[in-house]
């Protein structure tokens, strides 16, 4: 027998020699044993861009005082809401010219909401940047109690919008339980006005969006609802190894999402039934609004978990029709309903219309629906290069951002599993994945540059919400990311400011105050055009900066800005300089013929 073993070893060595001699194809080099020792199952197959040098984004949450740790409130019973939250928001609540940060807290679960300001509540952090000091230090102060927005419900997400057109952003907090509306008083405080605004909604609300669906100048509100769920009716699900785990959405009936019309007098009217949305229950997680068929009315895209997505085309007169299937955005290219989580609307291929990106569960690629003509999309994920890298990830918060200010919209996704990752058995919270950054290289193609995007992209966590905006006011887009059961991150962009930029703040007069839904077109001197739409929604459970950011590439070529307001008015402004923020007020530009 001993002779046999020796013979085996010798023969194996011979085999090895043979393998080496006839070699024609090589694989990724790793140290012996590495395959069995890698702690992070998601680290393989990640590409990088050596030009980036590893410092695209740096994490500065703790250093700047943005200290927030999400608590799922997990009880060991695997209550479904524990694994789905939470989100975050960026808003200049005090009007001092910099973005403040709102972070939504979840746990403990099962306790009743006890009002504002208690431990375990949502937190508002005021940005203390000095607008007059370009080299100022970024620092945050927790002002939750003063501001009165420490919602202590089991938090999911938030939507931001100036629903009363008084010039400051208001806040809607979605909860598992009762969601709440906070009106910004303009003096650094908010007041909870849910009841007087007639917005008492109960259930498991997820993403929400303020948008002006009837173009009357007042922001209406859509609230996505996920499943009909009560703690007393929680199912226990199991992993493939039989261990307790979280269930998925299809274990519970879908809940009805809700649409509310703003009457302009501080009240919201539930128009879900009259607008045609009633009876269309899906497991809605992601919500984004935009004019997706070019008729000038704001439509509604819903990323649904395990169901087909919905694209509610606004017919006018508060009537909506779901045309997602015909539009080609309901399903994957193979006709499968996927697990829609987050959503981003933007002009990914720089062809002048908006495309839709939806993040999905691991095992399903994230999907890029590219607009072919108004209202008609095609799943071009494979062609874009976004298919393979997204396959092992469960994506949540996402947005099109031009992180390098080269003029093209790049893509960020934050990822985290919703059921146990069985390759992480020793991890106390085995849901961790890596965030991803994709660089737009033109022609509708993207390259995964995560591996060289900085340390935050190599530290796995359980990503959920993400909000985007220039938090340090240095001319590029930064990111706040909220993680399930972990500390929030502040990703400061360290490369964007190398290129010129232009930031546009739209101020509606007839249109809603922030110009939500406006289309902003930047023209360069060679006739080139880029367009963006004014929005805060999208991503997952989160709200971003309302200002529109244009990277200008190396040439810094910016000639004119055209704004197509929600009311239909078109105006043009001449750009006098770059690296500035322009405030464009409706009615003060040069009117263009329709």
């Amino acid at each position: 027998m001993r002779r046999g073993i020796g013979l085996r070893v010798a023969l194996l060595a011979l085999v090895g020699l043979g393998l080496a001699v006839v070699a024609t194809r090589s694989y990724v080099d790793t140290e012996p044993g590495a395959a069995g020792e890698r702690g992070d199952a998601k680290a393989i197959g990640r590409a990088g861009d050596p030009r980036l040098g590893g410092t695209v984004f740096v994490e500065r949450a703790g250093a700047s005082g943005l200290v927030f740790v999400h608590d799922t409130g997990a009880t060991g019973k695997h209550y479904f809401p524990e694994i789905m939250g939470s989100g975050c928001g960026l808003l200049d609540y005090d009007g001092d010219g910099d973005l403040d940060v709102y972070l939504v807290q979840s746990g403990p679960i099962g306790s009743r909401s006890t009002g504002s300001g208690e431990a375990g509540s949502n937190r508002l952090f005021r940005n203390e940047l000095d607008p007059n000091d370009p080299n100022g230090t970024l620092r945050f102060t927790d002002v939750t109690e003063i501001a009165g927005v420490g919602d202590a419900g089991y938090g999911m997400g938030c939507a931001v919008g100036d629903y009363d057109n008084d010039g400051d952003p208001d806040l809607f907090v979605t909860n598992f339980g009762e969601s709440r509306l906070y009106r910004n008083a303009g003096d650094g405080t908010f007041r909870e006005v849910t009841t007087e605004a007639r917005l008492r909604v109960h259930g498991w609300a997820t993403s929400a969006s303020f948008a002006d669906f009837d173009n009357d100048g007042h922001l209406d509100l859509f609230i996505g609802f996920y499943v009909k769920y009560r703690l007393g009716s929680n199912w226990g699900c199991k992993t493939a190894t039989g261990a307790p785990d979280y269930c998925g959405p299809l274990n519970y009936p879908a809940a009805q999402s809700r649409l509310y019309r703003n009457d302009g007098a501080g009240h919201f009217e539930d128009v879900t039934a009259s607008s045609g949305l009633m009876g269309s229950e899906r497991h809605t997680l992601g919500v984004a609004c935009g004019d997706l068929n070019g008729d000038g009315r704001i439509d509604l895209f819903l990323a649904n978990d395990g169901d087909g997505n919905q694209l509610w085309i606004n017919q006018g007169g508060w009537r909506f029709v779901d045309q997602a299937t015909v539009a080609g955005v309901a399903y994957s290219a193979t006709g499968q309903g996927e697990a829609g989580m987050g959503v981003a609307i933007g002009d990914a291929d720089s062809d002048g219309d908006d495309d839709v990106f939806v993040t999905h569960l691991a095992g399903e690629k994230d999907t890029l629906y590219t607009m072919q003509r108004p209202g008609i999309f095609e799943d071009l994920t494979a062609r874009s290069g976004l298919s393979a890298p997204s396959l092992p990830m469960t994506g949540f918060g996402t947005e099109w951002i031009d992180y390098d200010n080269d003029g093209r919209l790049d893509l960020f996704t934050t990822n985290g599993a919703v059921t146990r990752v069985l390759d992480q058995p020793q991890d106390g919270y085995p849901f961790r994945q890596l965030d991803q950054l994709f660089r737009n290289v033109g022609g509708g193609r993207f390259v995964d540059v995560s591996a060289s995007a900085g340390e935050p992209f190599s530290t796995p966590a359980v990503g959920r919400g993400a909000a985007f905006g220039d938090i340090d006011n240095d001319g590029d887009v930064d990111i706040v990311v909220s993680y399930s059961n972990g500390p929030a991150r502040l990703l400061l962009n360290r490369v964007g400011q190398e290129h010129p930029w232009l930031r546009i703040r739209t101020v509606g007069t007839t249109s809603n105050r922030d110009g939500i839904g406006a289309r902003v077109i930047l023209k360069d001197s060679r006739g080139g055009r880029r367009h963006r739409h004014v929005h805060r929604d999208g991503s997952y459970l989160s709200a971003g900066d309302v200002r529109v950011h244009f990277g200008l590439g190396e040439t810094g070529n910016a000639d004119q800005v055209i704004v197509e307001w929600p009311t239909g008015r078109r105006e043009i402004w001449t750009v006098a300089g770059v690296n500035v923020e322009l405030t464009l007020t409706e009615g003060r530009g040069l009117a263009l013929e329709m």
Partner: protein, 396 residues
């Protein structure tokens, strides 16, 4: 013993010969492994996954235990390595599976199966380019396994390499001219190349071969659709006539699925069919799923609802009662059982189960409303009043 040793020696000679032949055929330089040709011919392989997962299912746990023991007794046995890899793969532990498959391919490089499993495992882990290398090497050595050709082709499409995908789909059609999945693939190739006529031609051919091929039907509908604003909702419904994909049978992956701890396919199918109200079809799938998970409360609950949906009320009551035993703290089970008893006119039973539901979840006003109405209908006004008061007390 002598005979056994001879057989063992002969087996290793054979393996060595196959390995060298296979390596030459596959043209693989396997850099993943280090082969330091020291005096003692030490061979270094990826480490064997040592973590033994906690498996609740006894039969599966035994399979894991056996596989580990077999591998520990003979770490250089490719079958022992591959088998553990398959088990890990079946239970979603892909990192360990990958290590085992790497060992198996190194120890038995002429064996197509290990390369195929390694490629599929890598693909699932998102290492697409390496998965392509592995599957391409496998196909180069053996192009007779149709699922291998199709899996590799799909990976090429996922990285926008339609030309390479086309070659593989054509190769598949050379092997089986009636392979609908290959025509579907050629349609996808055409789509990537912006050739709508090619999409339609190939999807139609796939549907001729397999009229129930939902993915081809969907792709064809997408290619042929008109202006969204002009298409009524009815057509949208017709476009979404999607059935499950009908790919060719894949016995190798089937072997992995068979190792899973539960009847996942039946669970998923049963729950989906239940969800869309196809109760008659859901019942047998849920019953099949329950055969391997008899105490799964959710499956029992869905089975009960499905049985109720097809009018098998007595069987439904029985299933609800089993669900209540399996999930004694779940308020939804007695509530549903109460609803069914009410429907059957057994009001005393209904009231009893609504009360049980409220005992578990006092805040559920919908259930309390049902209970109050039933009590009032039964003339039990005082009890109804008490329930109303308790309901008000339970409000936030």
């Amino acid at each position: 013993m002598s005979n056994a040793n001879d057989r063992l020696g002969a087996r290793w000679y054979l393996w060595a010969a196959l390995a060298l032949t296979g390596a030459a055929t596959l043209g693989v330089r396997y850099k993943q492994m280090a082969w330091p040709f020291s005096d003692r011919f030490v061979v270094t392989l990826p480490a064997i996954p040592r973590d033994r997962p906690s498996i609740a299912d006894a039969a599966s746990a035994k399979r894991f235990s056996d596989a580990h023991e077999r591998l520990e007794s003979d770490p250089l046995d490719p079958i022992a390595n591959g088998t553990l890899g398959m088990l890990l793969h079946a239970h979603g532990m892909l990192e360990g599976a990958e290590a085992c498959y790497r060992r198996a391919t190194a120890l038995e490089p002429a064996c197509y199966d290990w390369w195929y499993y390694l490629g599929r495992c890598l693909a699932k882990r998102g290492a697409t380019e390496e998965a392509i290398d592995v599957l391409q090497a496998a196909v180069d050595g053996n192009n007779s396994y149709l699922p291998g050709l199709l899996a590799l082709a799909e990976l090429y499409l996922s990285i926008n390499e339609p030309a390479k995908g086309r070659r593989l789909y054509q190769m598949a059609l050379e092997r089986d001219g009636s392979c609908a999945a290959a025509y579907w693939g050629l349609g996808c190739v055409a789509s990537l190349e912006g050739d709508e006529a090619g999409v339609q031609r190939n999807m139609r051919r796939a549907l001729e071969l397999r009229p129930d091929f939902g993915e081809a039907r969907y792709a064809l509908a997408m290619s042929e659709r008109g202006d969204a604003t002009a298409v009524p909702g009815k057509q949208a419904q017709r476009i979404h006539g999607v059935a499950l994909r009908n790919a060719v049978a894949d016995p190798l992956m089937g072997a992995i699925l068979a190792m899973g701890v539960d009847a996942s396919a039946d669970v998923v199918a049963g729950l989906r069919l239940h969800r869309v109200g196809r109760f008659g079809e859901a019942v047998p799938r849920l019953q099949q799923a329950l055969a391997s998970r008899p105490d799964d409360a959710q499956l029992l609950f869905k089975l009960a609802q499905s049985l109720e949906g097809i009018g098998e009320f007595d069987l439904a009551v029985e299933a609800y009662e089993r669900a209540a035993v399996a999930a004694p703290a779940h308020a939804g089970v007695p509530a549903s059982l109460a609803d069914l008893q009410s429907r059957l006119g057994r009001m005393d039973e209904a009231i009893r189960f609504w009360r049980e539901s409220l005992r578990l979840d006092a805040g559920n006003q919908e259930v309390r409303k049902e209970l109050v109405q039933a009590l009032l209908a039964a003339g039990r006004r005082k009890e109804a009043q008490q329930e109303i008061i308790m309901g008000m007390n339970s409000l936030d």
